[in-house]
């Protein structure tokens, strides 16, 4: 077959077979490593049946883990919303010795394997650790192997999201506006709450949402600082693993599906917040 004939033959094929090599690799790869596993979970979850699904998804044990996972992650994300803003502000607006070190340290939770982070946090906040010891001796607060420890691990894992989300927006923010507000007689407090924070809000919320989503799904660091006792500090991902170890595949599938649905919803929310942020950058006056 001549090249021209080959070409004619190819053009006669249905659209998806004419794809270039790069497209074919992309789709085949995505199908193998993403769509197939997702399909398996969806298939197994749909085989359970709606009534049974609801029953397994809302057992007392599962509900308790949702409260721990979703509730503590929410608290951790909120706390990091505040401290992330403070850190981003320090990095962008303040000049102090060690600024570059602080900048590099923020990325550590992304780089450090979660098992290492878990080991370090569990030891540091245990009753004979550098921080956990004094906390226990002075205030009687136990951190490691309690729900509080789970929260600390979630703080660690979600902090960089807020800082990295707020930093570029804060950098792009014009100091002129703050000066103008000052000239028009605004107090520092008014300038902060009426000029600066509204403009940073999309970035803060997007960072908080990303950190929240990550903290809910986090396993490695949490499992090591938690005592993994149901109704006390057992998180949902650990419950899935326990169900798998008990060969209770139906429960594992259903709870896994609940977590997957949560991930999809949070992805949509995060995308929405980022679109809102870009919209804000384009025309600040009309947003909000």
């Amino acid at each position: 077959m001549s090249f021209a004939a080959l070409r004619r033959w190819r053009l006669a094929l249905p659209g998806w077979l004419q794809l270039s090599w790069s497209w074919r690799i992309t789709w085949i790869y995505l199908a193998l490593v993403l769509f197939l596993p997702l399909g398996a979970l969806a298939l197994k979850a749909s085989a359970v049946g709606p009534a049974q699904f609801w029953a397994l998804a809302t057992t007392e044990e599962a509900l308790a883990t949702y409260r721990i996972s979703f509730g503590l992650a929410f608290l951790a994300a909120l706390i990091n919303g505040f401290f992330g803003l403070v850190i981003a502000w320090a990095l962008v607006r303040c000049d102090f010795p060690g600024r570059r070190v602080l900048h590099a340290l923020i990325d550590l939770p992304f780089a450090l394997p979660t098992a290492v982070a878990g080991l370090a946090l569990a030891a540091l906040y245990s009753t004979n650790g550098w921080v956990g010891g004094p906390l226990e001796a002075w205030f009687g607060i136990k951190v490691s192997f309690t729900a509080l420890g789970v929260g600390v691990a979630m703080l660690f894992i979600s902090l960089p999201f807020v800082v990295r989300s707020v930093e570029p927006v804060l950098e792009a923010l014009d100091v002129d506006q703050e000066e103008a507000a000052w000239c028009l007689g605004a107090s520092p407090r008014q300038t902060l709450f009426k000029i600066v924070l509204p403009q940073l809000m999309p970035a803060i919320l997007s960072g908080v949402a990303q950190g929240y989503s990550r903290a809910v799904g986090e396993y490695g660091s949490v499992v090591m600082i938690s005592s993994n006792v149901p109704f006390k500090d057992l998180i949902t991902p650990t419950l899935i693993i326990q169900k798998l170890e008990e060969y209770d595949f139906a429960s594992a599938t259903v709870i896994g599906m609940v977590m997957l649905l949560f991930s999809l919803v949070s992805l949509v929310v995060i995308n929405g917040l980022q679109v809102w942020g870009r919209h804000w950058e384009a025309n600040p006056a009309t947003s909000l």
């Binding site: 790869y29 596993p37 550098w130 000066e179 799904g217 991930s263």
Partner: protein
């Protein structure tokens, strides 16, 4: 002497005293990030250097290192090929559903690693998997064996390369490729001699992120591994297992190795960020 303008910005830029914000920031980061990092170092050398070095005589630790390397050496090249293919296919083209496809590629970042592992079990487990019958009739072992662990590593890390290369390629434009094509280069030559060199720093950056995450992946690998010491245990699993067995020194030794790799990857990343210039500021996360 400060100019009036500087006095002005100083007084309004910071709603709280200028010292307070950096101090609060530094204290919080110290408590949440810096002290845990130092704890790993202190724990590993708690009894001096010799006990730390003795850890490396442990058979299980050495086998964990080898398995970790095997998973990484499978995942990183595979994901590099996918990332480059996806980038050349998706970047610089506008088509309906492009934003959706980009979100789909990002999906593994939002799914809990445990759920990734669960999906693989439901797909390949010989007793309960969708392909269970096929797998067992072929005599393959995917779950509780290294192929499943390598696959889990691939899934968790594949977005890194694509999302680093796509934005850079989008900025580059078509002109150089078109010139090469006009001068008679084949599409393969264009890819190797024009496209790839133009995104080399992004590829390097993607390689660093993929490798760092692949070496440290815990949740997804843990679900499919079965966690048998000396056989299906990667280094992060080894850290957890020896910690739970109260073999603290071994746990810290392995943790320090992983932490050292993480630190090197972080430094390399900062270096490449400087090479990439302003690119990173547009893609702040991960």
């Amino acid at each position: 002497m400060r100019t009036p303008l500087q006095t002005l910005t100083r007084s309004i830029s910071w709603p709280k005293p200028a010292v307070l914000i950096p101090v609060v920031a530094a204290l919080y980061v110290a408590l949440i990030i810096l002290l845990p990092a130092l704890e790993v170092v202190a724990g590993a050398f708690a009894k001096g250097i010799q006990p730390f070095l003795d850890n490396f005589g442990n058979e299980d630790l050495r086998s964990a290192v080898l398995l970790t390397l095997r998973c990484t050496l499978i995942a990183v090249p595979a994901n590099t090929i996918f990332g480059l293919a996806a980038a050349t296919a998706i970047a610089r083209r506008q088509f309906p559903g492009k934003a959706l496809l980009l979100s789909v590629i990002d999906l593994p970042f939002s799914i809990s690693p445990v759920v990734v592992g669960l999906m693989l079990v439901l797909l390949y487990s010989p007793t309960n998997g969708v392909f269970g019958d096929v797998i067992s009739s072929l005599g393959w072992k995917i779950i509780f064996s290294w192929p499943g662990m390598a696959l889990a590593t691939i899934i968790v890390t594949f977005p890194f390369m694509a999302r680093e290369v796509i934005p850079l390629l989008e900025e580059e434009g078509w002109e150089q490729e078109e010139a090469a094509r006009t001068l008679g280069a084949s599409s393969w030559q264009v890819f190797w001699k024009v496209t790839l060199p133009s995104v080399r720093w992004a590829v390097l950056y993607g390689l660093i992120l993929t490798t760092a995450r692949a070496l440290g992946e815990f949740g997804a690998v843990s679900v499919v591994s079965g966690n048998i010491a000396g056989q299906t245990q990667t280094l992060p699993l080894f850290v957890e297992d020896s910690y739970k067995q109260y073999d603290t020194e071994l746990a810290y030794g392995a943790a320090l190795v992983l932490g050292g790799v993480a630190l090197v990857s972080l430094l390399l990343k900062l270096l490449v960020e400087q090479m990439l210039g302003g690119l990173k500021e547009k893609n702040p996360i991960n």
